[in-house]
């Protein structure tokens, strides 16, 4: 707990509001070519013990959303609106110094490439010790080091007592990501933001890291935001899913909603481009035609319109992120098509996909 006087409810207080609430978050960057609206009105809530996946292509705003939560996108040329509350405590208006107390200690973040995310010139142990002592300088160096050894052991690094003195380049990719996670957990944060934590790893290591995150999520009640473009990763661990496109959330729902009853054509496209192990003949993987839109110059109306084979007149108006299924108010999407039409259009050879209707 920081010394800031707060009337906010205690973090674990049941019914006192979500652990993390992001409201109408907008992040823009001034560039030489004009303003880039990287994140445009994102809302979500996160409860303890929950895994929220944010899915989207490169440039969809998912990483910027995550980094903005802990204030890493703050800079003279960025413009941040909206609200991020951690246990009711507003983060966007905090000073840099106050935010430093939140980073690492209440919200930890791990990044995409463990190869480059650790400083090559310090030992792994030293970097963990640094994180611990940054938040509590009363902890002695040696007891912080003991803690680091314990953490490394807890994330599955064998012979942690010895490996704590290794430099990052002496670790394998998977071990480095484990070390990153250990560093993130050092101060027992309530939220872990994992920004594509498995992208740079090979498949078996990916699974190990995901299970580690899932374990920690369950055993410690660690609320997790998992950012990824890999729906396989999502299927593995997520409870709820946000699909982002062009800086906006285009669909949100539970894992089952997204995988079995996806409402937005973009989600269909993502699902359709997954490899199917249950299909006998090798065939060319479908893809979503076109490229993600430039955030400098988004298409009018629905941002997905130029790439969508099911586009019709109404798509020139911006669709809201609304519940469009009468039976499920928590499953929201931004597509003007009627649910009935959607169910028909997304059916391609017995599975979900995005294709020109014949």
């Amino acid at each position: 707990m920081s010394a800031t006087p707060e009337t906010a409810p205690a973090p674990s207080g049941a019914g006192a509001g979500p652990l993390l609430a992001v409201e109408n978050l907008r992040v823009g960057f001034a560039t030489e070519d004009g303003r880039v609206q990287a994140v445009d009105g994102v809302n979500f809530e996160l409860e303890p013990g929950e895994v929220l996946a944010i899915v989207g292509e490169s440039g969809s705003g998912k990483s910027v959303t995550a980094q903005t939560i802990i204030g890493l996108t703050r800079s003279p040329n960025s413009h941040i609106e909206g609200s991020v509350r951690l246990s009711g405590d507003e983060l966007t208006t905090k000073s840099e110094r106050e935010l430093q107390k939140v980073r690492g200690s209440k919200i930890a973040m791990i990044f995409q490439d463990p190869m480059t995310s650790l400083n090559p010139v310090y030992t792994v142990g030293k970097q963990i010790v640094e994180a611990i002592r940054a938040h509590d300088s009363s902890i002695g160096r040696s007891s912080a080091r003991e803690q680091a050894v314990e953490l490394l052991g807890a994330v599955g690094i064998p012979d942690a007592e010895r490996r704590v003195n290794d430099y990052p380049h002496e670790f394998s990719g998977g071990m480095r990501q484990r070390a990153m996670i250990a560093m993130g957990l050092a101060l027992e944060p309530s939220v872990l933001i994992a920004d594509e934590p498995t992208t740079a790893l090979d498949v078996t290591i990916q699974a190990q890291i995901l299970h580690l995150i899932q374990d920690l999520n369950r055993s410690r009640g660690l609320a997790t935001i998992l950012i990824t473009h890999d729906l396989g990763v999502v299927a593995e661990v997520a409870d709820r899913v946000l699909v982002m496109y062009g800086g906006k959330v285009v669909e949100q729902g539970t894992l089952d909603d997204i995988f079995y009853d996806p409402q937005h054509p973009y989600t269909w496209g993502l699902l359709g481009s997954l490899t199917r192990l249950d299909q006998p003949r090798p065939h060319r993987l479908p893809q979503i035609s076109g490229a993600p839109p430039s955030l400098l110059n988004l298409p009018k109306g629905c941002a997905f319109r130029p790439r969508c084979p099911h586009e019709f007149g109404k798509c020139k108006e911006v669709p809201g992120l609304d519940p469009r299924l009468p039976e499920d108010p928590n499953h929201r999407d931004r597509c003007w098509l009627e649910p009935e039409q959607k169910r028909k259009l997304r059916e391609i050879e017995g599975r979900i996909g995005l294709e020109e209707p014949t």
């Binding site: 802990i70 890493l72 003279p76 840099e96 110094r97 430093q100 107390k101 939140v102 980073r103 690492g104 200690s105 930890a108 973040m109 990044f111 995409q112 490439d113 480059t116 995310s117 650790l118 400083n119 090559p120 010139v121 640094e130 994180a131 940054a134 938040h135 430099y167 380049h169 990153m180 560093m183 993130g184 050092a186």
Partner: protein, 319 residues
Amino acid sequence: MLRFAVRRLLGAIAVLFAISVLVFLIFNVVPATNPAARIAGKNATPQLIKNVEKEWGFDKSLPEQYWTQMKLIFTGKATSYSLAHINIDKRILEGIPQTASLCIGAAIIWLAFGIFFGYISAIRAGGFIDRFVTVIALIGISMPVFWLASIFLYYLTYKIELFPASGYEPLSNPVEWAKHLILPWVCLAVLFAGFYSRVLRSSMLDVMNEDYVRTARAKGLSQRRVMLRHVLRNSLIPIVTLFGLDFGVLIGGGAIVTESLFQIEGVGYFVAEALNQQDFPSIMAVTIFGAFFIVLFNTIVDIAYAYLDPRIRLGTSAA
């Protein structure tokens, strides 16, 4: 480490050999005039020229000439005829304290200012302070040493007699020593300080985009700690590289202009004299002397690399 040292030593010997051969060829073989006559100086008697010819082996074959001359230089028996019959090696050795005092003092100043200004302008990149420092640095880089030295000498020693005009006081009298050296230190340091601050600035801006810097911020470190421990620390390699080269050159007699203008009779001053008189034995000796220091400091730089970046290991591949 031992392997590394041995390889480096062998490398250094090879470099020195190559340089000495090159200098030897340029001065003895290329010119059409009699080298012995040039070594003997302007008003030499025919007898002296004969003696020089014998002493420096010009009556023998080229390899023998080379061998004779190297022996003279490396055994400390080489005498300069054009420069008042001084013993060359002794003259260089006498110059070392002066040159070292000048270079070490200047190096401390330029490293301190170069790193300070580079750091300041990197963390304020694009802002007013950055622009201001950039202008100052460019002025420093653009100012010729001889001009700056003349301005200093005219205004600070002649107009207002703030500093002694020139010369060198031994370190046994530290106050006088420093007083005599402040102006030359500053003169020599200005160029390098400006240059180093620019290099450090761009190196730091590169490092700031590294993922591990984002990690450092994400774990809640203070801005200052991120900058000092993660950005600055990882940006020092180009500075160390430059420093090794620059300092080696200066210690090896490269501060010719500064030493000449401030009458510091160090190695650089001797280089100026030797060049002025086209005194081959002296030029040969100072060139080898200078090359030795450049090689030496490059080796020290390589050792420093391994310390700065643990991924670099001194081993078979390092040499």
